[in-house]
Assembly symmetry: C2
Homo-oligomer: 254 residues x 2
Amino acid sequence: MSQKVTACVLVIGNEILSGRTQDANIHFLGGELTALGIQLAEVRVIPDDEGEIIEALNHCRAKYDYVFTTGGIGATHDDITAACVSKAFGLAFELHPEANRILLDHYGDKANTARMRMAIMPRGAELIDNPISKAPGFKVENVYVFAGVPSIARAMFDSVRQSLKGGAPLVVQTVSTIGLSEGMIGEDLRVLQDQHSGVDIGSYPFLKMGGFGVNLVVRGEDKQAVKLACADLKTLIENAGGTPIEGETEGEQF
Amino acid sequence: MSQKVTACVLVIGNEILSGRTQDANIHFLGGELTALGIQLAEVRVIPDDEGEIIEALNHCRAKYDYVFTTGGIGATHDDITAACVSKAFGLAFELHPEANRILLDHYGDKANTARMRMAIMPRGAELIDNPISKAPGFKVENVYVFAGVPSIARAMFDSVRQSLKGGAPLVVQTVSTIGLSEGMIGEDLRVLQDQHSGVDIGSYPFLKMGGFGVNLVVRGEDKQAVKLACADLKTLIENAGGTPIEGETEGEQF
């Protein structure tokens, strides 16, 4: 078994909690991290509140290999993430020379106090390139600080992707069927999962043309173990009177 | 000042963390709770892991007035939320007579062990009606257990909405402008926020026809205080050379 590498995402922003804004970063980061062999183990959405942010930062950076934050690094008074990271690490919160140069280059004679505030960071922070709106993200130890705007968060993730070290990517294989609901195969599935304890089997029901179907997703570190579980899943489906399908079937949520 | 009523949402499911499934419940619940005068103060997305679920349940039910969970109450082996709620509360995990009757009525001679497992709940749980697929959610003290499938989660929320007690709903008013970026008004905005400490001003930039704009959202318990802050925001925008717009302007994310 390879060593598991874990991550946590902290989504920082009242606008997500109030229902004003639909988060788009969790889904993106979950997929990207999984592909890198990094297990996204927790997400927290927290308000623009210093105490809550610092507590979450310190809890999660101790518990997980990587922490990614989104939100709260803009030019206005409600952007307090950078200051909170400084406090969480006990680092001076000061003008970052390189960030200062990037912002001066970008804004020219439109530089002002609010914009240049985005160059104030925890001492020693490593910058994360922002090809979209220039104001950089940054990294302190295992904490990566991204913007909340989805296109910028994605660009910042792209900037650091190469430097992230995952474990062995999980092998993922799906067997699906149309016409059987998960309730019809639930007990057999439980027995099958017990027999294949080296893999995780997830059961995801869907609707298709008015009938039920189910995607059975097998995840594991060992390719052979995943393959064996999938073979047994096909037999299980056949025994229940269904037709197994290799791979995912797209259906409607119900 | 009215008393603040708070809530937390626990999204339970490996499929959200792995990026397989995009969550649709956080945004819905955030908006609905806000409308009821209940402040969604935190969301956690956690895996199908007994230890993690129990820890999050016990932490959050002590900290917040309401806890809503989504996910993990289906008919398969990976649905462990109900058992975890029982353990978190130290309650017996047993057949719920009313849930049993509902499921027997619904499934008739198609009832089987997997399906009837959905009637096993913490002792004394109050059922939450599920008009869509019948298998009920439930409530124990301040913890409300919903399905993860969005249409069912919404229906279950509708079933309990009347029983939820919020504080005074926040007064929310937005002033927006096109052609000014938040960086151009950030310092004035900071001063204005300090002058109006009874309200929270959020600044949300957008793109419109290739240019920047910003929505300034004022939230507070006192209608008059919100109104005064909005009046000053309009002056701020005018002083910066912009045109204030009453209400939200739809723009593109960038």
